[in-house]
Every structure is written in structure tokens, then in C-alpha cells.
């Protein structure tokens, strides 16, 4: 009746359940991964479908942002990470020191970072030059009817309204891709703040995750943000066209992203940037996104799960990409990855 009598019984039950869940690899496998919000819609779908096909295998993916993905993978608190920014050499060596193992980058899909906006009365697609985007995010272009924007949008009536800038408040691969592009097209931006996952933003509100950023844009009139294109599509938010290196205004789509990737050779360690690619039809803010897998995985059960999932991802998984507006990997990259899987020990 008293708590002091219930307590020992409860502790025993607790311990019992704990011991029971420490099983062998014949038992259900529970893996945890964390990282990029950029590919979260397709990763969630993949892991959900994979679990339906393999009921004993639960791969729990948490969309916390690329920065968190790299950190948690380095700390070892998750089994794998995910990032739209390839790990730097410094980050890789920190991983090696912490986990006593190298880390492998496996591209999964390609996607596009699109400018999204919420301007009452403007429903058409706005053309943005790279310089305009940089100017907006530097705080130099303050109004929607600024000549830098209006001049390339003769068909649209831009309002005399102040631009409310929205960016990411967390460490984000999407931010990295976006600022990588801005650094390439704007010398001002390259000087400061430069490119990175978590930069010192000159202006703007912060949203947590692609979800939070998109949510803020949806809530805030006259706002602009940047996010993976599926977030715009799934939430009926207008996205703009961006001017590419060939001076064409291109709309993001799996095709224009694939075009961008086709122009850039893939190195052996799979770390590459495909922003501002040459080619008339290339979308300039495209990116691969990677799963960060440790080279050495001690737990045999987990290693098997990861290897089998990667093989599935490179096969049936790729077929699911276009429905969610991600571009599937080029065939050459798929072949390269299939060979690289054997590096996982």
C-alpha cells in the first residue's frame, strides 16, 4: 500500500524489462540516426517503408539538422548521421579520434534549396538573381519592390513592403548549401559572413529545422526563406526561380537538379559541391545529401542492418525519390557507392 512497499517490486519489474530488451542480433534491431532536415521527408518514408517490409528492423531517424547529425555521430550517441554538408577534414579527424574509426559519406539523393516567400497578393514565381538573394540576406535589399528584384520580374507587381528575412537557427546543411552558393555569386557575402552551417546572420528571424523555418515563413507576411523544395511543395508555399551560372532563371525540379549534378565529377570520398553548376538547365542551388556511416561498426547485427539498408536505398529506394521531388542518384554514383559499401567493417 505504501510507496516503500511498491518500490522494490517496481524496481524489479523495471530491471526485468531492461534485461529482456538487451537481446542478441536475432532479436529486433533498433538503430538510431540523426541529422539533416533537408532529406527528412524521404528518409522518414524510406525508414517507415523499410520497417513495414522488415518488421523487426526499426531505424529511428530524427531530423535535428546536419550540425546535430555530425555532432551526435561523433559522440556516438547515434548509430549514423546525416548531413547536406560534407564533413570537413577537421570534423573527420575529430570523428576518428572520438570513435576510433573513419567515417564514410554515402550520398542518398539530390535535392534543391529553393527561395520561398509569403507575399500577400503575389502568387507567381519570382526570379531571383544570386546577387539579389545575397543582398536580401545581407540586409542591403530591404524592400520587395527594390530594383534588383523588380527589374528581373517585369510581369509581377512587387509591393512596397519590407522584406522579413527568415533563416535557420540551428546548424544546418541547407544553410551550408545556400551560403556556399551565395559565396560563389557574391564577393560581399564570401568576405562576411561566408559559408557554413551556422553563420553569423546579418539580419533575420531564426527557425529551428527546415520545418521551423518553413513554418515561420508560412506565419509571417512578406517573409523570405530557403529550404528544400519538397517543404514548399508539401505546404503550398510559393518558391522562386534562381539565376544560374549560364544566366538563365531556372525552376528547381528533379530534372534541373540532375542536370547540375551531371556537370560535376564525383570524387572517391563522395564529398562534392554542385552549387552554381555550369549548363543552361542546371539549378544553381542543388546538393547531394549524405548518410554518415562509421567505417568500423562493432555490433554485427547493426552492421548487417546498415549494409542491407544501403543496398536497398541504392535500389528500390532510389525509385521513390521523384515522387517526393528529390533527384535520384546518377547511375555512375550508384555503382561507385555499391563498391564502397564493402569498406564498412
Amino acid at each position: 500500500m505504501t510507496i516503500t512497499k511498491l518500490f522494490p517490486a517496481a524496481v524489479a519489474a523495471l530491471l526485468g524489462m531492461t534485461l529482456a530488451s538487451c537481446g542478441s542480433s536475432e532479436q529486433p534491431q533498433n538503430l538510431t540516426g540523426a541529422g539533416a532536415t533537408f532529406p527528412n521527408p524521404i528518409y522518414s518514408k524510406w525508414f517507415s517503408d523499410y520497417q513495414k517490409a522488415n518488421p523487426l528492423i526499426q531505424i529511428n531517424y530524427q531530423s535535428l539538422g546536419s550540425g546535430a547529425g555530425i555532432k551526435q555521430a561523433t559522440d556516438g550517441t547515434v548509430d549514423f548521421g546525416a548531413s547536406d554538408q560534407p564533413m570537413t577534414d577537421d570534423q573527420i579527424s575529430k570523428f576518428r579520434t572520438a570513435r576510433m574509426s573513419g567515417v564514410l559519406h554515402f550520398p542518398t539523393v539530390m535535392g534543391a534549396v529553393v527561395p520561398i516567400y509569403n507575399i500577400p497578393g503575389v502568387t507567381g514565381e519570382i526570379n531571383f538573381t544570386g546577387a539579389a538573394l545575397a543582398g536580401i540576406y545581407l540586409g542591403k535589399i530591404k524592400k520587395w519592390n527594390d530594383p534588383a528584384i523588380a527589374s528581373v520580374n517585369p510581369d509581377l507587381k512587387m509591393p512596397d513592403a519590407a522584406i522579413e528575412v527568415v533563416h535557420r537557427s540551428d546548424g544546418s546543411g541547407t544553410t551550408f548549401v545556400f551560403t556556399d552558393f551565395l559565396s560563389k555569386v557574391s564577393p560581399d557575402w564570401a568576405t562576411a559572413p561566408g559559408k557554413g552551417a551556422a553563420i553569423n546572420w546579418p539580419v533575420g528571424l531564426g527557425g529551428k529545422g527546415s520545418e521551423g523555418l518553413t513554418g515561420l515563413v508560412k506565419q509571417t507576411p512578406n517573409s523570405i526563406g530557403y529550404t528544400e523544395m519538397i517543404y514548399a511543395a508539401q505546404n503550398n508555399i510559393t518558391m522562386g526561380r534562381v539565376q544560374n551560372a549560364a544566366s538563365k532563371f531556372v525552376k528547381a525540379s528533379p530534372e534541373s537538379v540532375s542536370e547540375a549534378a551531371a556537370q560535376v565529377p564525383m570524387p572517391d570520398d563522395f564529398r562534392v559541391s554542385i552549387t552554381n553548376s555550369p549548363g543552361d538547365a542546371s539549378y544553381p542551388i542543388s546538393s547531394f545529401t549524405w548518410l554518415l556511416i562509421p567505417e568500423k561498426i562493432a555490433d554485427a547485427g547493426k552492421r548487417t542492418v546498415i549494409v542491407n539498408f544501403l543496398k536497398w536505398m541504392l535500389g528500390p529506394g532510389q525509385a521513390m525519390a521523384p515522387a517526393l521531388q528529390y533527384a535520384p542518384l546518377p547511375a555512375a554514383v550508384v555503382a561507385k557507392e555499391q563498391a564502397a559499401i564493402s569498406a564498412i567493417q
Partner: protein, 282 residues
């Protein structure tokens, strides 16, 4: 005596203003409940309680795993926080005296004032990092630490409220000190202690910040106690800041469910002891 018109006017105005303040404050609760009910009830369906979450963009799904996850985390928290707080309160009320007690009381007050996000960082450092995975257990430890000061304070208060005559009577009959405590004093205080426990649970049930780094989240059913798990407050946060209309709808439903649970437990706790004044909170 003839009070000046001005003094009477000031009197009337100021007293009315205090009534307005009361209406504002009490009315806020009604507005909150009403708005949550309006949005939450419309979104509540059976699916919410029985289904798992779906990937972003897909309609439907529910928070069944989050409800169970919250229950499991709270169970662990209760098993950790309540015994420590309870037994420490027994010590302070029955055995303690002098500087050690004073230090314990000070430490408890300190712990009570620590912001929940800082407790989250602490739990991450001592549980998640060494174990190298987030878990229900880690979340339970974080919430359990938060439960200790309140469990201690309410238990001690009700133990002290038991009349000395009861204690003396028991000891005059030959019972030892500890037997007196466990068979006479504690049972006499039990409704107060129980009510304190309920209030305590209701308070930590809504905590989100400590769970962010400890339980993480999980789209599936969380197996056992050592896996990451979804919890109701964490799902509300994730869904509320997202752009998906369907997720926002579910956030309202979850917020409504959580609030109803918390308020019901609070009301029940207070009726357990028939008290209406505030005790045991910071």
C-alpha cells in the same frame, strides 16, 4: 464624517480595477481552455490514440507511441524522484537537525530553481553520453531529478503537520522511532503526500526541454527502457513549429489531451486533501 468625493471616487475606481484584474487572469484560463478545446477537440479522433506518426506530408497518423512514451518516462521519473524526495523528507522531519539538514534544504531549494533545460544538459552528460544512446531511462532521470525537491517539500510539510501527540502516543506504547514513523506518522499524512505526488507528476508531465536531448524521439514504438522514445510534449513542439497543416492539427489535439490530463490530475490532487491555497510550488 464626510468623505471627499475624490476619495470615494478613487476608492470605487481602484476597487473596480482589482476586480478587472481578477477577471483578466481567471478569464485567461477560460480562453486558453476554450481555444484549445475548440481546436483540439475538432482534431481529436480515435486514430490519434491508436496510430503511429506518419512521414511528413502524409496525412493521418497519430501519437499512440508518444502517449505510451510519456507514461513510461513518467514512471521512471516517479520511481527515481519520489523515493529520494520522500525518504529525504522523512530524514529532515524525523531525524534531522543541525547544519547537515540545513545544507540539504538549501541544496533542495537550489535544485528546485534550476531551469529545466539545464537539467536536460546535466542528464545528457551523465546518462546519454556514457551510455551512448538517448533513452526513456535518461528522460526519466532528468524528470526524476526535477521531482525530488517537490516530493521532499510536500512530504515534509505533511509529516510535520501530523500532531506530536500521535507520535508520542505511539512511542509511549513502546514503538521505536522508525516504527512510529512508518506505521503511524506516514499513514496519517498519506493523503497529503499522495496529493503532492499527483501535483508533482502533473508538473513534470508537461516538461519538454529536459527531454530534447535525453529521449530524443522515435517514429516507432519504443521497446523497453533503453531506446529513444517519442513523448507527448516533444511531439507537440515538433509539430507546432512545422509548416504541415495536418501536423499542426495534431499538435492542437495533443496539447488539448495533455492539458486535460494535467488539469484533471491537479484538480484531483487538490480535492484529495480539500485544500485550495497554494503550497509546495516555487
Amino acid at each position: 464624517m464626510n468623505l471627499s468625493f475624490r476619495r470615494k471616487a478613487v476608492n470605487a475606481v481602484m476597487l473596480t480595477l482589482t476586480g478587472v484584474c481578477t477577471v483578466l487572469v481567471a478569464g485567461s484560463l477560460l480562453v486558453i481552455l476554450g481555444y484549445l478545446a475548440w481546436n483540439g477537440l475538432a482534431s481529436l479522433n480515435v486514430e490519434f490514440f491508436t496510430k503511429l506518426p506518419t512521414p511528413p506530408g502524409e496525412m493521418g497518423g497519430g501519437m499512440a507511441n508518444a502517449i505510451l512514451g510519456s507514461a513510461k518516462v513518467l514512471l521512471v521519473a516517479m520511481l527515481i524522484g519520489v523515493p529520494i524526495g520522500f525518504m529525504a523528507a522523512v530524514y529532515l522531519a524525523e531525524f534531522g537537525s543541525g547544519s547537515f539538514s540545513g545544507v540539504v534544504r538549501y541544496a533542495t531549494d537550489l535544485l528546485n530553481g534550476v531551469p529545466s533545460i539545464v537539467i536536460g544538459i546535466f542528464a545528457y552528460a551523465i546518462i546519454v553520453l556514457p551510455m551512448r544512446h538517448p533513452s526513456t531511462f535518461a528522460g526519466g532521470v532528468a524528470l526524476g531529478i526535477m521531482m525530488i525537491p517537490i516530493a521532499l517539500r510536500t512530504t515534509e510539510e505533511f509529516l510535520r503537520a501530523v500532531p506530536v501527540s500521535l507520535r508520542e502516543g505511539a512511542m509511549a506504547l513502546g514503538a521505536s522511532r522508525s516504527r512510529t514513523i512508518f506505521t503511524v506518522v506516514i499513514p496519517a499524512a498519506k493523503s497529503g503526500i499522495l496529493s503532492g505526488l499527483m501535483l508533482n507528476l502533473a508538473r513534470v508531465a508537461g516538461e519538454t526541454a529536459p527531454l530534447l536531448f535525453t529521449t530524443l524521439g522515435n517514429p516507432f514504438w519504443s521497446v523497453g527502457w533503453m531506446q529513444p522514445t517519442a513523448t507527448l510534449p516533444q511531439m507537440i513542439f515538433t509539430y507546432a513549429i512545422s509548416p504541415y497543416d495536418d501536423w499542426r492539427r495534431q499538435a492542437w489535439a495533443a496539447g488539448f489531451v495533455l492539458l486535460v490530463l494535467v488539469l484533471t490530475v491537479n484538480a484531483a490532487a487538490r480535492f484529495t486533501i480539500g485544500r485550495t491555497s497554494a503550497r509546495g510550488r516555487s
